[in-house]
């Protein structure tokens, strides 16, 4: 007998994420085609700019991928802890890992009162899970378990890897904007023959294409990030079987964050994309434009999804 599954996949979410990834790929192809087209009648110095952007951009992406754990931990000022130092936290992680059949990540605690958590590392073997002291103080054990299962779902989905690959295009476009802008600035003055003017036009064209690509891919990456947050909420809730505990943790954490003064929040900003909730969460009455730029879905959307999962699980 095949046991029926209570863990129904969310086809809508899958479809929306597929569409986003497809669009990102499309932008990439168009971007490459446009650059190749522009460079077709070009001198070596301009091609060099593009080559430099690709090499430096690739290096940045690979570097941030390989050092993501160390960078994130040192930015957050987090310290790795042993099972003897934090038996409760290790116990919770042990059990979730055994339930999900995944290797246990390293565990770190950040000595800050902002209640939050993040997971990073390029793959499951190099993953680090970090929670803040504020989070452990405010949440009870079931809520903490919910947050940890959300973060471990990020690890299982290889979100650091996926988002780095997705951001690669934006990194290159961003570098090209900078390079061609400075190229225009310094190359344009002084020498004035037809060849140089031609070169200036090409730089302008590269600048224009890069700006458009940067803007579009920026929005798509944010969209992808929001979908992956919803996915992690979903997988985390199904893993522990307690969507309501995760919902309650979300409410507690986002409520506290809105009350904390902005000075601390600015320090936390670079890590936002991998946090459990963004440190700069939008308040109530936020506009839909603000939603477009956000790395995390609005709280109501996340709570609504968890309520739906709770209903599915308790269906007879």
């Amino acid at each position: 007998m095949v046991a029926r599954s209570r863990y129904a996949p969310d086809r809508g979410l899958t479809a929306r994420m597929t569409a986003t990834i497809f669009l990102l790929g499309l932008v990439f192809v168009v971007f490459v085609a446009a650059i190749v087209f522009i460079l077709n009648a070009v001198r070596a110095s301009d091609a060099l700019i593009v080559l430099a952007a690709v090499v430096i951009g690739g290096g940045l992406a690979i570097g941030s991928l390989f050092y993501s754990d160390k960078i994130a931990l040192s930015t957050a000022g987090a310290i790795e802890v042993t099972p003897q130092q934090a038996p409760e936290l290790h116990g919770v992680v042990d059990r979730i890992c055994a339930l999900a059949d995944m290797p246990k990540p390293r565990i770190a605690i950040a000595p800050t009162d902002i209640p939050n958590a993040f997971a990073t590392g390029r793959n499951t073997k190099h993953a680090v899970l970090c929670v803040t002291e504020g989070l452990m103080r405010r949440l009870d054990r079931e809520e903490l378990e919910g947050v940890i299962s959300h973060e471990l779902s990020h690890v299982a989905h290889k979100d650091v890897m996926v988002m780095t690959v997705a951001s690669f295009l934006a990194i290159i476009a961003g570098l090209l904007i900078r390079f061609s802008f400075y190229g225009e600035l310094f190359g344009g003055g002084g020498r004035r023959n037809s060849n140089d003017q031609n070169s200036g036009l090409i730089l302008l064209a590269i600048l224009a294409v890069s700006i458009v690509v940067y803007a579009i891919s920026f929005l798509l990456i944010r969209l992808l990030s929001r979908y992956r947050e919803l996915s992690a909420d979903r997988s985390g809730a199904l893993l522990t079987g307690q969507p309501s505990a995760l919902a309650s943790a979300l409410q507690k954490v986002s409520g506290t964050i809105a009350r904390i003064p902005t000075k601390d929040l600015r320090e936390a900003q670079p890590l936002n994309a991998f946090f459990f909730v963004p440190a700069l969460s939008a308040r109530e009455g936020q506009t839909s434009i603000a939603n477009l730029f956000s790395t995390h879905p609005p709280l109501e959307k996340r709570l609504a999804q968890l309520a739906k999962i709770s209903q599915q699980l308790s269906r007879q």
Partner: protein, 193 residues
Amino acid sequence: MGFLDTLLGRTKPVQPNLDVLFQLPSAAVTLQASTGFTPTGTGSVCFRPVEGRAFADVEKDVRELLDMSGAKTGTLPVEVTRDSFGFTWLVSSHLSTEVEDLVTDLHAVNSALVDNGFGPQLLCTLVAFRDDAQRRLALVYLFKRGTFYPFAPLAGERRDNALEMQIKGAVEGDLKMEQDLSRWFPVWGAPGL
């Protein structure tokens, strides 16, 4: 997890592997012969309860089933405890000679959960052993990996790693042991141990 699942951020809940449990009785014989550890007759199943009515009903059915079979054979009723991590332990107690009955009980709990679609909630099954010096030992079965590992707690949340390695060597011929030592997670204060 496949490439597509990674790309789309999906995880399929891991289904447990149950049949390996029936290898336990023969492993118990080997263990007694080579190390002097005998089964205490107590075993337990640990799972993560799901919120809502459906799971509560299944849990109730399982307890009634076990209590009924216990009443027939005259053994102790099943004990249900909830640990500090929110996991439920069903403890089944038999005589130390009735390892087969114990395993049958444990298997009944597991398959009831699986048949009702809650297989992914199963964490581990544990069978307790003692030796003449009253040292405590458990063979822990990890549902998701389909493997066993030994757990020998000492006083004060420490583990007797030397004993665990010795036990692993002793029963390796009978049971599929977990080779990745980082998966041997401790179950401090597990009921029935």
